[in-house]
């Protein structure tokens, strides 16, 4: 197995006095796609928010030797974690091109424009609409822009929070195919939180099932897909 990129131990956290995460471990190896499944309110989003410093958490979140606990989100992205939040990952009033520039905010190198051009090539809709407000794109296009925006920071780890939320099934299918391509071609490590278990497991290497703030099942994506209990609970078959 390749090197562990993100190693989380005994993670607890929540919102004010309400504790959502009750102390669990998980890890993501470099180059892997790992999916966290679970019902509404299980703590999936909270887990991602803890990793990127948006809520107070305790335990240990180790990213290639760097401790993320206690860091705020503006610092965490500088350490190599990009986060596409649920639903609204774009800056709707800004142009598509400015959204990509915001994604590269922490970079000081000269290759920002080349990376933007690269995204225009991968996803020509962004090029056609580069001067339009991001809010005028369709839901699927916005989600793709949000992912491109996050990847503009050249992260080691990409966090995706419910990318399928509110999108038509055919668009979700296309989106996940693109995530798979990004992982294979750019080698981006991904931690995905998703309700649509079938699609997510389709591109994932491994998965965890989160139940009431604790991990109940973990395993290889293929095994999870054929696990009867999981099929009943999350695959709807």
């Amino acid at each position: 197995m390749s090197e562990v990129l993100l190693d989380v131990k005994n993670l607890t956290g929540g919102y004010g006095p309400i504790r959502v995460l009750h102390g669990f471990d998980f890890h993501v190896a470099a180059g892997e796609v790992v999916v966290i499944l679970g019902a509404n309110g299980a703590g999936k989003t909270t887990t991602l928010r803890a990793v990127s410093g948006m809520i107070e958490a305790s335990g240990s979140i180790d990213l290639a030797g760097k401790q993320l606990i206690g860091k705020n989100s503006a610092d965490v992205v500088r350490l190599g974690v990009a986060h596409v939040p649920q639903g609204r990952g774009t800056l709707p009033e800004l142009s598509v091109e400015d959204n990509l520039h915001v994604g590269a905010f922490i970079r000081k190198d000269k290759e920002v424009q080349a990376d933007i051009d690269n995204w225009y090539e991968i996803y020509p809709v962004l090029h056609a609409r580069r001067h339009q407000r991001a809010g005028s794109l369709s839901g699927g296009e916005q989600q793709m822009l949000a992912v491109a925006r996050a990847l503009m920071s050249r992260p080691d780890l990409l966090l995706l929070d419910e990318p399928s939320l509110g999108l038509a099934p055919i668009i979700v299918q296309d989106l996940f195919e693109r995530f798979g391509e990004i992982n294979r071609e750019m080698g981006t490590t991904m931690l995905v939180v998703e309700q649509n278990a079938q699609l997510a497991l389709g591109i994932a290497n491994r998965g965890y099932v989160l139940e009431s703030g604790e991990i109940s099942v973990e395993g290889r994506a293929q095994d999870l897909m054929h696990d009867d209990a999981i099929r009943k609970a999350y695959l709807g078959v």
Partner: protein
């Protein structure tokens, strides 16, 4: 007709200064969707600082204005850090109360330091008239005010669209969470907005009281703020150009209506501004140039 042009010219200079104060309101509104009710008083205080620098320290007036703008920017940054940032930005009521408190505190402070007697402000622009059409005269003051406003809007547009801090500012205005996740430090970015607004406000107030018919006193901006807030709302609250055009509209309406509608005495010109505001908001809720909320899901 000459009278009409005369009133139009009169409205122009007032309108431009309303526009500048409106601009300051819009800068803070864009970042925080908060109307800073103390903006006028901050600007008045800044103008007093400019007056002191120019008359007591003997600085040339434009140097005094520049130093006054810098000092205002620092003060704006301090106000943001100490009174605004500690509070939850999504809960507007406490913040509005704080700006109202600032309004009273700054007004009283200026009264304690400089008393309430009106003072003559130094000339910033050449005096006399540039053009005369019979009754209508276009003064150098009006021309220079309009030029100054054009330069300020131009510089602000460059600052917001071509610099990194400008990009950060626009990003934070649009989506706080995603900006933070992109590595933008939200606090300092909003602080930059407050500093910028304070500097623009001080310039606006200085220009306003540099008009020979106005004088500087601690209450001078209270009225202007109402016109400016109306101007900002007409322009759309989040549009820089809209703020200026809104200011012009208010300035003109005020000056023309009072002339031609005999049953509106001068004292009621404030009310005419509100009538215009109601009409605009009734038919275009996001103002003339504001961004209507468009979001596809």
């Amino acid at each position: 007709m000459e009278l009409f042009i005369a009133r139009l010219f009169d409205g122009l200079s007032n309108g431009a200064t309303y526009g500048l104060i409106a601009l300051a309101l819009v800068i803070i509104y864009k970042a925080t969707t908060l109307i800073n009710f103390a903006q006028g008083e901050m600007a008045m205080f800044g103008a007093f600082v400019v007056l002191v620098l120019a008359t007591e320290r003997g600085l040339p007036i434009w140097v005094a204005v520049f130093v006054g703008m810098l000092l205002s920017a620092v003060a704006g940054a301090i106000i943001e850090r100490t009174l605004i940032r500690p509070f939850d930005p999504s809960d507007h009521l406490p913040l509005v109360i704080i700006t109202l408190g600032l309004f009273l505190a700054i007004g009283s402070l200026a009264g304690i330091i400089w008393r309430f007697d009106p003072r003559q402000f130094p000339r910033m622009f050449p005096s006399g008239n540039a053009l005369t059409f019979g009754l209508a005269t276009l003064s150098w003051y009006t021309i220079c005010v309009v030029l100054t406003v054009v330069v300020v809007v131009g510089l602000l547009t460059l600052l917001l669209n071509k610099t990194k801090i400008g990009l950060a500012f626009r990003a934070v205005s649009s989506n706080l969470e995603s900006s933070e996740l992109s590595g933008i430090r939200v606090g300092p970015t909003l602080q930059f907005g407050w500093a910028l607004a304070a500097a623009v406000g001080t310039l606006g107030a200085s220009i306003y009281v540099a008009d020979p018919v106005h004088q500087l006193e601690p209450t001078v901006m209270a009225r202007v703020l109402i016109f400016a807030a109306t101007a900002a709302a007409i322009g759309g609250l989040d549009s820089l150009g809209g703020a200026i055009i809104g200011g012009m509209i208010i300035g003109m309406v005020q000056s023309i209506l009072v002339q031609y509608v005999p049953f509106i005495p001068n004292e009621m010109s404030l009310a005419t501004a509100v009538v215009v505001l109601v009409l605009v908001l009734l038919y275009r809720p996001s103002g003339l140039f504001g961004t209507p909320p468009v979001e596809r899901v």
